[in-house]
């Protein structure tokens, strides 16, 4: 048999993918550590994972900003956009691990918990750097597979396993839709690379129109599932409620960031030729998400379910930035995600603290009278809730402000008006919690969870929300520079 000649040279500029390599190997190290470290000292594993995230963040910062952004034959890209998204996801993962420290102490398999978190982070970091549907899909599956297991981590709790099963089945269905759409786009363009596909689609005539549209529809529906956009949001409340609270915090931020980044990349690179069509589709999705998120949340008695609907509502607002389709809109999405990250982590930190005996303070009634027992926590929760509602001069106000301005600049006045309207409806259920805390009598005795990292997360998140609210310019500037290379 003839000698096989490999046509390609070894991939160059491998340093760009160094952060992912560090993360993958440290994931394996953490997995092995948990085998050899005795049961009582499993916290070492947690701190190693946190240190890993910090080291990876450092290496992301040190390798980015080069002239060359592509490696692995152009299948992997580390531009400013991906760099910012990765730093955001790493930060959120560190905070979620802080929240987990006391929570995931008594269950078995502490090491695997952190391993799965690191690997899902790896999947998401690959997703945001993918320039190609194959890599994107593989990263997405890596992320999803880890999170299915994390949701089911309290496997003796029926609610938890049920949520995981539901999430798994609907997640698999959405992956099928995504793949089906990709197959249509591949069939009509003959490539998997975003940019090449975008060129072919933009140049294709009426012949290809229906096939490309069908592909687009399925791809966007599959992605909408992953970032829980209504009407593809059915799994969100159950999964949020059933998952261990730190996992809920993790999955309400990090996969959303990754999914939205992929969403933006696909809109910008693959579908520029279909902007009119996808804008119509996104307007429908955005209005529906804002409506479902903000109206259904009012009926919820469980705060995790309420926050799930709140996420759906927030994603609806974020879609406004995509509808704008300008760099102001996309940087608005990054600003929104940054502020949303701190709000979510702070709120979940407080929920985790409100432990009484074995039961988490998950019902809205549990917050009654918090202000008298713990005025500090109540103040933090109040500020975070005001911020989520978008009350001026807290972080959440600027988040909404930037996307509304971006969408108004593009002439969608009605859409912005609807957004403001739904945000006003949403303010009701956020502020209701404040009413419970400050004006109701204490009904149950609290037994607050302790832990410095947990308190740090809550305090730091609240302070950042207040600081960004008073002086938003630095964050906005960073986000604006991050999207420069995108369009």
């Amino acid at each position: 048999m003839a000698e096989i000649e490999f046509p390609f040279p070894f991939p160059e500029h491998l340093d760009l993918i160094m952060p992912e390599m560090i993360l993958a190997s440290m994931g394996l190290v953490v997995l092995m550590m948990s085998v050899f470290i005795s049961k009582g000292r499993q916290q070492v594993v947690a701190w190693t994972s946190i240190a890993t995230c910090i080291a990876v963040a450092y290496s992301v910062m040190s390798v980015s900003g080069q002239d060359v952004t592509m490696t692995f034959y152009g299948y992997f890209e580390l531009d400013a956009f991906a760099t910012y998204a990765k730093l955001l996801m790493l930060l959120a993962t560190v905070l979620a691990m802080f929240l987990s420290l006391n929570y995931i102490k008594d269950v078995e398999n502490v090491g695997e918990y952190y391993t799965l978190m690191l690997f899902s982070l790896l999947g998401m970091m690959l997703m945001v750097s993918a320039t190609n549907f194959v890599i994107m899909y593989l990263g997405l599956e890596l992320m999803a597979l880890c999170i299915y297991v994390l949701v089911a981590y309290q496997r003796d709790v029926i609610r938890s396993t049920e949520a995981a099963l539901k999430y798994f089945i609907l997640g698999a269905l959405s992956s099928c839709m995504l793949l089906y759409g990709i197959s249509f786009l591949y069939g009509s363009t003959g490539s998997f690379m975003y940019v090449e596909m975008g060129e072919v689609i933009a140049a294709s005539g009426d012949d290809a129109r229906l096939a490309v549209l069908t592909g687009m529809l399925f791809v966007l529906a599959g992605l909408a599932f992953k970032v829980s956009v209504a009407p593809f949001h059915m799994w969100t409340p159950d999964a949020y409620e059933g998952a261990p609270t730190p996992v809920t915090a993790f999955m309400s931020v990090v996969p959303k960031v990754a999914g939205l980044i992929v969403f933006i990349r696909i809109l910008v690179d693959v579908l520029p030729g279909l902007q009119e069509e996808y804008t119509t589709l996104l307007i429908f999705l955005a209005v529906l998400s804002m409506a479902v998120g903000n109206i259904a949340a009012i009926a919820q008695r469980n705060i995790k379910r309420m926050l799930a609907y709140s996420t759906i509502g927030h994603i609806g607002f974020i879609l406004l930035g995509m509808i704008a389709g300008t760099s102001a809109g996309y940087s608005g999405i990054l600003i929104y995600m940054t502020i949303y990250l701190f709000m979510t982590m702070g709120v979940f930190g407080i929920i985790i603290m409100m432990r009484r005996d074995d039961i988490q303070g998950e019902l809205l009634d549990d917050f009654a009278g918090l202000a008298k027992v713990r005025p500090g926590y109540a103040l933090a929760m109040g500020l975070l809730m005001f911020s989520m509602a978008g009350i001026p001069f807290l972080g959440g106000f600027w988040a909404k402000y930037v996307v509304f301005i971006a969408v108004i600049e593009q002439g969608h006045i009605i859409l912005a008006t609807l957004g403001v309207l739904f945000s006003a409806i949403g303010a009701f259920y956020y502020i209701r919690i404040i009413k419970y805390m400050y004006f109701d009598e204490e009904r149950v005795a609290f037994n607050f969870g302790k832990g410095l990292p947990l308190q740090f997360t809550v305090v730091a998140s609240t302070l950042i929300i207040v600081a960004v609210g008073l002086y938003p310019e630095p964050v906005m500037e960073i986000c604006r520079t991050a999207v420069i290379g995108l369009l």
Partner: protein, 194 residues
Amino acid sequence: MIEIGFFYLFSGLAVFSALGVILSGNTMYSVMWLILCFFNASGLFFLLDAEFLGIVLILIYVGAVMVLFMFVIMMLEVNKAAKREGWLQYLPVGGMITLILFIELVAASTSGIFTSDKMMMMSHAGAEVNNTVEIGKILYTEYLLGFEIAAIILLVALVGSIVLTIRERKDAKYQNISQQVKVRKEDRLRKVSM
């Protein structure tokens, strides 16, 4: 011409057996239908000169995945298919969605881009082109990154399934070496007054 005949034979049988999978009442029969479906799909790969993919499909799906399915079915004893109660209730909505999807797909695939004049007519590759070598070349160069990610996905699947199923038995007896070393004679000996 004979190729077209085989194409219709394989794809027709594939569709027929796929229908069998969802319509047969016995789960075991469903698995058998699925195996037939995979064989036909691999037949289609052979028609496209992709022998490697065809064989891999049979080896992996029929040889491994389906056997696993069988084991699961046997262990769970789900031989009797779940009663089809309430399917009439879901029929209107489900039927509507299916109909819309079907029309959409027919429209998309007949829209002109998938017609034979637009598609590259594949001539049969000569005997000197080795399927396996070509796949290897592309898999270990261009798609190296994807290949590595797939490896990690497999690891995660392994870790995840163990995490969800392993249980430490409370009644299991095992040696705790550090306790054994630390033991003092006071722990084991007891003075009794006679």
